[in-house]
Symmetry: C2
Subunit: 376 residues, 2 copies
């Protein structure tokens, strides 16, 4: 059995490229992880997600524990079999979504009691139960259960929250995870935008020891400038020989800026969610396909993209099926967006490997500054 | 250029098998045509529709003329290119849906004035404009514009309506269609459940001469027994050397009963619509996937079906994604249903070719009588 490992194969400035090896396959880094919230990447067949170039998916512990339930998924053979995805899966701890989706939350040192946003049923999530649920799901990369405030927040609030998360990581998460060869447990750095707190959190995590380290508590309202400010320092505080994962990020330029600063993994609902609301990401920025300018346009979204949406359909068709609320609209635009995000990752991996990341980044920004093609 | 032709290659009782040849490919008969209302078979990529075994799609003139508009589709290269489907397309005339969907209809000998159900805009549809719209769409098989009452209706109402449709077919449809090698115009028999009126209609159509003949005005509320009563006679009234098309039918047992009575082509939204509402058609009848009995069931919908839904997913997964209102629910169940319908057609074609239709039909009904597999 292959054990979980990370090998850095190239570096250009702070940007790194490498490979994470797991028994379920390799993850090329930097890696973008599509989000399969409820055991499906919305509007996509899993083989189509793989065809976009994704090596790994993210599953949401909060959603899956509520519906269909972790025990049920375990009885059915685990999340991979359940959702027909045999490559690696990373699951979050559930903590973030308890805070953003559930009602009647009560947070103590033991964990969080909350009511389901689906049916109002009462649940308890803690560092230990989160480990157990992620084990039942069969997750390849398990995240520590943590808690973080929305930003902006005072240093005092951020520090208090971070320290509880570090106590959770130390006392329960590592032990509760147990000895599971081929599976990885990632610690999550907190500390908001405060460099000292980020450092304190990193030291606490390193003292415990994890297979990977996440930069958490960002993309929660602080804006790109503040996020990049944190990322100028945070990755360096984490071990260079382990994967670094920036949670919940982001827009294409967020992703590029994060990779530039030493991040290896990211996830975000943006490409899939935007696909369902008629927003397409292209080399030239965002295209709102519902705009009337596209109604008679025979050109593809992006002539250089080889996804099905761009290979076989006009902007006029995409405009028509969006306006008609046809499911193929979300199917095609999600596919395109996921393909675009994966294309960026592939291009960055190649640029880092060949020491041309800076030139690639300039071309990336120049393409976006150019804007969408002119209307006909 | 291949011209439009029909060759009967086998017969068993009244059931026929054959092939329709068109410049865009062959249509094996008996054929079931999935419905691509608004330039998409809902929840399906066109290559997936082809993978289910469909040789031809149906497009709806009423929907397409209103949105995105026939002239627009023509400017964009026609419906095939627009929706990325290069096999044959049959379009209906729009008449049926004007009657069922539009408001403020005014019917005269000239045609129908109506208001769009989408935006209330005013439109006019007639035998001539329907021909023109279907020409702009690039339809391979064009249907005559006709009008029919819902059943039950008095003989007087049915006769009046049928005779107007026959006048339309004679005066305008055939001439307006013009000389279009490789394309076909189908006449539509009307007459409700009255055999004499059906005969009168058939004679009127044969006097004009068409590349194919539809049995219209059924599946409009008359019930299966009455429909089969009509089909005991109606196909025989139509030329044996041309395809016979039963419009808007139907449930699997309707289809089998129609083929048994000499029908070559059918269309229905049932497999795709049911797929989106959690109903799956199987050899053992209808499965309502939302039923709680499936929530923990690791078995496929139908172990003998090789569609993606049955090959890779449990009933438990299908139950979960339906309850979670995930798009993959409609995607998988529509695929399964379309595959099941095409499997029936393929089996019937083989049974007719080998003179075993009666035995096949008995097995078909026995499988349905058996009912769904027992809960675990």
């Amino acid at each position: 059995m292959t054990h979980f490992s990370f090998e850095k194969t190239g570096q250009d400035g702070k940007a790194r490229t490498g490979v994470i090896r797991t028994p379920r396959g390799q993850i090329r880094t930097p890696a973008f992880m599509p989000v399969g919230t409820a055991a499906t990447v919305k509007a996509m067949m899993p083989e189509s997600v793989a065809a976009t170039g994704a090596d790994i998916l993210l599953g949401n512990t909060y959603h899956l524990m509520l519906r269909p339930g972790a025990e049920r998924i375990d009885r059915l053979g685990g999340l991979h079999k359940f959702m027909n995805w045999d490559k690696p899966i990373l699951t979050d701890s559930g903590g973030f979504q308890v805070m953003s989706l559930a009602s009647l939350r009560k947070l103590t040192e033991d964990g969080v009691t909350f009511k389901s946003h689906i049916d109002g049923s009462k649940h308890f999530l803690s560092p230990e139960t989160s480990m157990e649920i992620q084990r039942l799901l069969g997750s390849d990369i398990v995240m520590c259960f943590d808690e973080c405030p929305a930003l902006p927040a005072s240093d005092e609030v951020v520090a208090k929250s971070m320290r509880m998360s570090m106590r959770w990581a130390a006392r329960w998460s590592r032990d509760a995870f147990g000895d599971r060869p081929g599976h990885a447990l990632f610690g999550i750095q907190q500390g908001g935008v405060n460099k000292d707190l980020r450092g304190e959190s990193a030291e606490a995590l390193k003292a415990i020891g994890f297979e990977g380290y996440a930069v958490g508590g960002l993309a929660v309202g602080e804006g790109q400038e503040a996020m990049f400010g944190v990322l100028d320092d945070a990755p360096d505080m984490l071990p260079a020989d382990k994967p670094r994962y920036l949670m919940g990020v982001g827009k294409p330029d967020d992703i590029v800026g994060a990779v530039k600063r030493g991040i290896d993994m990211m996830d975000c609902v943006l490409p899939s969610r935007s696909g369902r609301t008629g927003q397409a990401f292209t080399r030239h920025g965002v295209v709102n396909i519902k705009n009337a300018r596209h109604a008679d346009d025979p050109r593809p979204l992006d002539e250089k993209c080889n996804c099905p949406a761009c290979s076989h359909y006009s902007r006029a068709y995409l405009n028509h099926v969006f306006r008609s609320q046809e499911m193929i609209s979300g199917m095609l635009l999600t596919w395109h967006n996921l393909r675009y995000f994966q294309d960026i990752m592939q291009e960055m991996r190649e640029a880092i490997a060949t020491g041309t990341f800076e030139a690639w980044e300039q071309a990336f920004h120049a393409g976006r500054a150019q804007g969408d093609i002119e209307p006909l």
